[in-house]
């Protein structure tokens, strides 16, 4: 990020990468003026500390206000555990659904031509632009107690699922789409002309190219889903042990004046999100390396 920034500023003659999903330094010469790097690193360090690291450190300190046993009790209280279980369970399902359907949507948007394609393409970003509470109201009026469709998902886990699928829709689509646009179709045609079936071509040629993008999109949608609050607040029902997600549990603990419980569950949620993103990053970069090695 900083490298790109300063390369652009200091050496404008260098071509800028057109594909945002490509690693910024790949293939570009590493030489840059000595001034740029420490300044950039210093700024990034300062900014990240103020915005991310300090608040997270403060949160972690709060969660240990009553010592390690207080933290452990707070996280393992049955209702807290249940909320974490519901959150992770529903989020995993949503992430998997996104992995499959998101890739499919990206495929259709890139490879197929149909009327209204640009409209559909713009529609994908709507869940990003919409305040999540609006999503909740929309879903409640459609699937709530006065549902015009006669479908009642209010205060059920399928209700949570639909809400989370709605807000996480863009992640996989938007990470797979550019890769698919860049992908070399001649390789697929070559595979087909050599007698590979459609499925084999997909499995051996297309999937390996898309895998890093699918994995990172899935990871992002999982991370977003476990932290989601606004879209589930109305349709979720907030029933402890059944549909109460971790963010709602945290909110409730704040309201009943138990900040330590809230902070402890927040830290647990944070750890899950961080671990997930870290593992998926490893997996994505490994499959990318494999892809590059075979190319």
């Amino acid at each position: 990020m900083t490298a790109t920034l300063f390369r652009r500023a200091d050496v404008p003659a260098l071509p800028t990468p057109t594909d945002p999903s490509a690693p910024p330094t790949a293939g570009a010469p590493r030489a840059r003026p000595g001034l740029g790097r420490p300044l950039g690193v210093g700024l990034v360090g300062l900014w990240l500390s103020l915005i991310v690291l300090l608040p997270l450190a403060a949160l972690t300190v709060t969660s240990f206000d009553e010592g390690w046993s207080g933290f452990w009790d707070a996280v393992t209280a049955p209702v807290a555990l249940a909320s974490l279980r519901v959150t992770v369970g529903v989020s995993v399902v949503v992430a998997l659904v996104n992995a499959v359907l998101g890739t499919l949507i990206a495929w259709v948007l890139v490879r197929d031509d149909f009327r209204g394609k640009r409209f559909v393409d713009a529609l994908i970003d709507l869940p990003f632009a919409l305040p999540t509470i609006v999503a909740s109201i929309v879903l409640l009026s459609l699937y709530g107690p006065s549902s015009p469709l006669g479908i009642h998902l209010n205060a059920t886990r399928p209700g949570l699922l639909v809400a989370l699928a709605f807000v996480t829709l863009p992640f996989v689509v938007r990470s797979v789409q550019p890769v698919l646009i860049e992908a070399d179709r001649e390789v697929e045609e070559a595979a087909a002309s050599l007698g590979a079936s459609g499925w084999t071509t997909f499995r051996r040629i297309v999937l390996p190219t898309l895998a890093p993008a699918v994995i990172s999109g899935t990871g992002l949608s999982f991370a977003r889903a476990i932290g989601e609050y606004g879209s589930v607040v109305l349709i979720g029902g907030n029933i402890p042990r059944q549909t109460q997600v971790a963010s709602q549990y945290i909110q409730q603990q704040i309201e009943i004046d138990r900040p330590v419980n809230a902070a402890a569950v927040s830290v647990a949620l944070l750890a899950i999100a961080f671990a997930t993103l870290f593992v998926l990053r490893l997996a994505a970069s490994r499959s990318q390396r494999r892809e590059e090695a075979s190319a």
Binding site: G42, Q242, Q252, E255, D257
Partner: protein, 343 residues
């Protein structure tokens, strides 16, 4: 050499950033001061209240601003769970006037030095209106709920807010508790009822009376425990519910107080006084709250039928005793029942 230079530049830059943020702080202070100076012409009162009385203030505030004392007064209103609101004000929320569901939420501010010790010195003890605890059921009362015992029938799900955040929840639990314990004389019987109710029939934990009503109206549960005014509000808005006032129930008294460090103390006090005038009392009564002014109360007697037996907080020894023995976090008997059932 270059490297050292770079470090110096980084240092200078971060110093610059710090200076900049310091500037930002300074300028925002000035803005605040300017707003204060402008406030002389127009007063803004910050009202922090529990979740239910919004319907009352929606009538009373416009009427107050039409009086001589209320001319030019604007209100910024914040409604939420009583306990939560009280803790926010304690933590520094800029309130001028508070209205909580239960007295301990005001006592918290007295202890913090924010409300004068004699806040309840007027003839109504600082309580401009009240209500009674009622049982709200679905239209037609399909489960045939009449009295407290009916709530313990198998398959009846009860919606009541969480007593650690909501004042309404405390009143809701005190009603069957006093009915079963004969006004606190037989504690064990009262607690046995609460234990059965909370452990076996309460599934959701809304944060406030208002959220509990919303949850119930969205289809959760068979029974909602609530203020009579909240029940009347739902019925008058055309929601398919009705309320049953059990023969023995509890008198709800919702106190108000002026913050002693309020920047608009005179106006806040004028508003406080206005709430007890017959005019304001009538407006509260029309909004479903039981007035404390005797003449107005007689006038609205048909709207607010008297239950056979109405226990009061004084019968149980006052809020200090009740909060200490029943609701105190980690030691109160009802708090323990709740913790056992919800953790």
């Amino acid at each position: 050499m270059r490297r050292r230079n770079a470090v110096a530049v980084t240092g200078a830059l971060s110093a610059g950033v710090l200076a900049l943020s310091a500037c930002a702080g300074g300028s925002s202070d000035t803005v605040g001061a300017a707003a204060d100076a402008g406030g002389a012409a127009k007063t803004t009162l910050q009202l922090y209240a529990y979740s239910a009385p919004k319907v009352g203030y929606d009538k009373v505030i416009p009427a107050f601003t039409r009086t001589a004392a209320g001319k030019g007064v604007q209100f910024e209103q914040s409604y939420g769970p009583s306990g939560d609101q009280s803790r926010k004000v304690e933590a520094g929320a800029p309130a001028d006037f508070v209205n909580f569901s239960v007295e301990p939420d005001i006592t918290r501010l007295v202890d913090a030095g924010l409300v004068a010790k004699d806040w309840n010195a007027n003839q109504y003890k600082g309580i401009p209106f009240g209500s009674v605890v009622t049982i709200v059921v679905r239209k037609g009362n399909p489960k045939g709920i009449r009295d407290w015992d009916d709530l313990l029938e198998p398959g009846v799900e009860v919606v009541t807010p969480n007593p650690f955040s909501s004042g309404s929840a405390k009143w809701n639990l005190l009603a069957p508790y006093s009915a079963k314990s004969n006004g606190g004389k037989d504690q064990a019987a009262g607690l046995a009822y609460i234990d059965k109710l909370v452990t076996g029939h309460v599934k959701v934990q809304p944060k406030s009376a208002r959220e509990a009503t919303e949850t119930f109206l969205q289809g959760t549960g068979d029974v909602l425990l609530s203020y009579e005014n909240e029940a009347l509000f739902a019925e008058r808005s055309g929601d398919p519910v009705q309320h049953v006032t059990p023969p023995t129930t509890f008198k709800i008294e919702n106190p108000v107080a002026v913050l002693s460090k309020s920047k608009n103390l005179a106006k806040a006090k004028a508003f406080d006084d206005y709430l007890f005038t017959p005019e304001a009392q009538k407006l509260f009564a029309e909004a479903g709250f039981r007035p404390v002014d005797q003449t107005v109360a007689t006038e609205f007697a048909t709207d607010f039928p008297a239950p056979q037996k109405l226990w009061t907080i004084d019968d149980l020894g006052g809020w200090k005793t009740v909060d200490g023995t029943l609701f105190k976090k980690e030691t109160g008997s009802i708090a323990l029942i709740y913790d056992k059932a919800t953790q």
